[in-house]
Subunit: 210 residues, 2 copies
């Protein structure tokens, strides 16, 4: 069975997005302060098809979280396109050739035909996290399923006991407000299995004991 | 000038004590889950004058936080003895020979004569954090001042911009409720300067840029 993993940047006070999230500002006020370790890295530049960036331990972490992923699951908010029934002209935030390059399953309450873009097909799942996970695991071809976000979707998988691995990128900022990852997720048993660090983040990989 | 430092065990969801703290249970419900890395260690056993315990990286962290401390500051709740004017028969939680072995300054609204125990003198300071820090720095003899706790006192020093170093022992548990360290502390600039880890905790030392 595919392992189910999730990685997330978190402030030292536990926020994974700032307050006042919106379509215009999906990471909330101040939320961009969680990502300098990503945006400075050579690996991120390369993933976006660009030159430049720094070669640091943060790079290795980015390569690690991108490696071996057979499919993704994301929430409706992350895919975008507003609330309610679909306006099918909405094709996601990522252009005509999204960098996922793997099947993506979108949790939604509203049915929609699959959206086939270059290298990435978005499939819309109305059966909840368990149905999405079954489809994502079949599509993953033995590789991992990655829970891409947002925070509410990550929380659902953690609370339902469906995660095998939670990789926290602990960023040295205090946001003071915003959206928490670890709220109403029960009492998961976490084993730290890897820690690497740079000045921009301390990366702690936890195995979630099922 | 003495550096001012603080170290604290924190759950992955940001709590430094469980809910329902009381004189009978000062760490709150579930709060003991923050301390296995301490209680299992040889260094803690030795500090308590006992044999046994494990020799791990957690030991080295305990030795590091005990080393080079010239004086301590703590809040009234940590010292104990209830609220309001002092019942002078209360001599702290730590017996007649407390393991501090250094001057301790207790923040309080109620004056009291110094309490001299074997190796440790408790001095009661009614002038607030700045007055306590001045006295503690004079007493430290060039060594560090350690903010011993509780969480409210740590928060006061951090919010007032008086800390030089915050050493977080990030423990792989989700408490779900309790007292947070990083609430209403403003937006301190934190630089991670050291990370070590064991299965029981990830220790991240932050320099607080003044």
């Amino acid at each position: 069975m595919s392992s189910v993993r999730c990685h997330v940047s978190m402030s030292l006070d536990g926020f994974v997005a700032g307050p006042d999230q919106s379509a215009q500002n999906p990471v909330g006020v101040g939320g961009k302060r969680l990502y300098p370790w990503v945006f400075a890295s050579k690996a991120w530049h390369a993933h976006q098809g660009r030159e430049g960036g720094e070669r640091t331990v943060d790079c290795e972490v980015i390569e690690e979280v991108l490696d071996g992923v057979g499919s993704y699951i994301m929430g409706r908010h992350m895919f975008g396109g507003g609330e309610g029934p679909w306006d099918e002209s909405w094709r996601g935030w990522w252009g005509e050739e999204p960098a996922f390059r793997a099947p993506v399953f979108v949790l939604t309450h509203h049915p929609r035909e699959p959206l086939v873009l270059r290298g990435t097909t978005f499939t819309f799942v109305t059966g909840g996290v368990t149905a999405a996970l079954e489809q994502a695991q079949r599509a993953a071809g033995g590789q991992a399923v990655s829970i891409a976000g947002g925070a509410a979707t990550m929380r659902q998988f953690l609370a339902a006991g469906l995660l095998d691995e939670l990789y926290v990128h602990l960023v040295p900022v205090v946001l003071g407000a915003g959206e928490r990852l670890l709220l109403d997720v029960g009492d998961p048993t976490l084993l730290p299995v890897k820690v690497v660090h740079s000045p921009r983040a301390t990366h702690v990989k936890y195995r979630v004991v099922r």
